[in-house]
């Protein structure tokens, strides 16, 4: 489209600020909110709680939206949450083949690969090949379940708790959880 998108974006901002429709600090604040306040640390808190507290795990799997609200997590792009749990026999993988739906309040804004055509096209059609590119090799008899986020429902993968993490505190557990493990492109 534009030969210089940065300049075009600046022109749009200039126009909206000049006309009094938006303020510079409102734009700054929203950027800041998504860059700093949101991020995978919130998803990690949810996963750690589910590992540490069996009753919370039950609630999370039964009603993800309510369970993350208990921890004060919610907002745009997290209207309805379904949490799906990895087990020794099942590995879950989340994609949005139609656009780039992603649970922002839990994981922050998605990485570029999540939004680009290669992942959107291939995750449903050759999930093991895609996982291999992330360095994930699953056991041959693991059933992969790919979740295509085609509606307003958002998905969170609850990864398997790493061996040797018995006795860890919830904060220590949360530190083990990676963003990719909550999308399903990583394992712990």
């Amino acid at each position: 489209m534009s030969e210089d998108p940065a300049l075009r974006a600046a022109a749009l901002e200039a126009l909206l600020v000049e006309e009094g429709v938006l303020s510079t600090d409102a734009i700054d604040a929203v950027v800041e909110h998504y860059e700093r306040e949101l991020g995978p640390q919130h998803g990690a808190r949810v996963v750690a709680r589910a590992w540490a507290d069996p009753a919370y795990r039950e609630r999370l799997l039964a009603d993800g939206t309510a369970a993350v609200q208990e921890l004060g997590i919610g907002g745009v792009e997290l209207n309805t949450l379904v949490a799906v749990e990895n087990t020794p026999g099942v590995h879950n993988l989340v994609v949005c083949t139609l656009c780039s739906c992603y649970p922002w309040p839990l994981l922050g804004l998605p990485p570029k690969w999540y939004k680009e055509p290669a992942y959107r096209a291939r995750a449903v059609a050759e999930p093991r090949a895609v996982l291999r590119e992330f360095g994930v090799e699953l056991a041959a008899d693991t059933r992969i379940r790919v979740w295509d986020s085609t509606s307003e429902v958002r998905y969170l993968v609850v990864p398997r708790r790493p061996d040797g993490s018995d006795g860890a505190t919830e904060d220590e557990l949360a530190a083990l959880v990676t963003r990719d493990s909550m999308v399903g492109t990583g394992v712990l």
Partner: protein
């Protein structure tokens, strides 16, 4: 894009970040504000699909968001067609981007990002859990949330997610109807594969489905 080929590797150098350049974050924020402050008309997601296909594939992700932001603002009349071009020319001539602060508005802007709109509870459903259903063959000429790779394929209803506005009308302004989580076998969607069979779960509106 499910099942299309030729796009190459998923993981590339630099693909871990949400974006690289400050303007991309600002376009994202402006787009969020257009939504929360009702400055635009139409769905950004649906509008982006109206970009000419060659431009869509050539444009970067946030270039598409910039494009759809302009269209939403024009449709509502918040900006006029051609105004961004004229403002761009003034920036090229060396005029700075004006700054204006409004701390109260900034607080409201972030608060709006914390709001939720859950799906409505499920009403009466045509298909029971465990039923085999077929995705209708269709060729929509506008926005849809029914992926092409699933059309004509049979799957099994695994859950009812709730009720939501049918997205193909409006878009996102159609009558409220049930959304089902439907399980598909990989071979039914894509034929034989070297990979062990897997499951693809797709959330589908009732109008997309028919009896087998």
């Amino acid at each position: 894009m499910g099942g299309m080929h030729g796009f190459g590797a998923v993981v590339r150098v630099g693909s871990e970040r949400a974006y690289d350049e400050a303007w991309e974050g600002r376009v994202f924020a402006i787009s969020a504000l257009i939504g929360s402050q009702r400055l635009g008309s139409g769905s950004g997601r649906a509008l982006r699909e109206q970009m000419p296909p060659d431009e869509y594939l050539r444009a970067s992700y946030y270039e598409r968001w910039l494009w759809s932001s302009e269209r939403r603002l024009e449709r509502k009349g918040t900006i006029g067609v051609g105004e961004v071009d004229r403002r761009l020319a003034r920036l090229r001539d060396g005029e700075p981007v004006p700054r204006r602060t409004d701390p109260e508005f900034a607080v409201r802007a972030v608060a709006a990002e914390r709001e939720l709109e859950p799906l409505a509870p499920a009403g009466p459903t045509r298909f029971a859990i465990g039923t085999r259903v077929r995705v209708r063959r269709m060729r929509p000429d506008s926005h849809t949330r029914c992926p092409r790779y699933a059309r004509g394929v049979t799957g099994v209803v695994e859950a009812v997610r709730g009720n939501d506005a049918f997205p193909d009308i409006g878009p996102y302004q159609g009558p409220s109807e049930p959304v089902y989580a439907v399980a598909f076998e990989s071979a039914d969607l894509f034929g034989p594969s070297e990979e062990r069979p897997w499951t693809v779960m797709i959330d589908l509106f009732e109008s997309y489905l028919e009896d087998t």
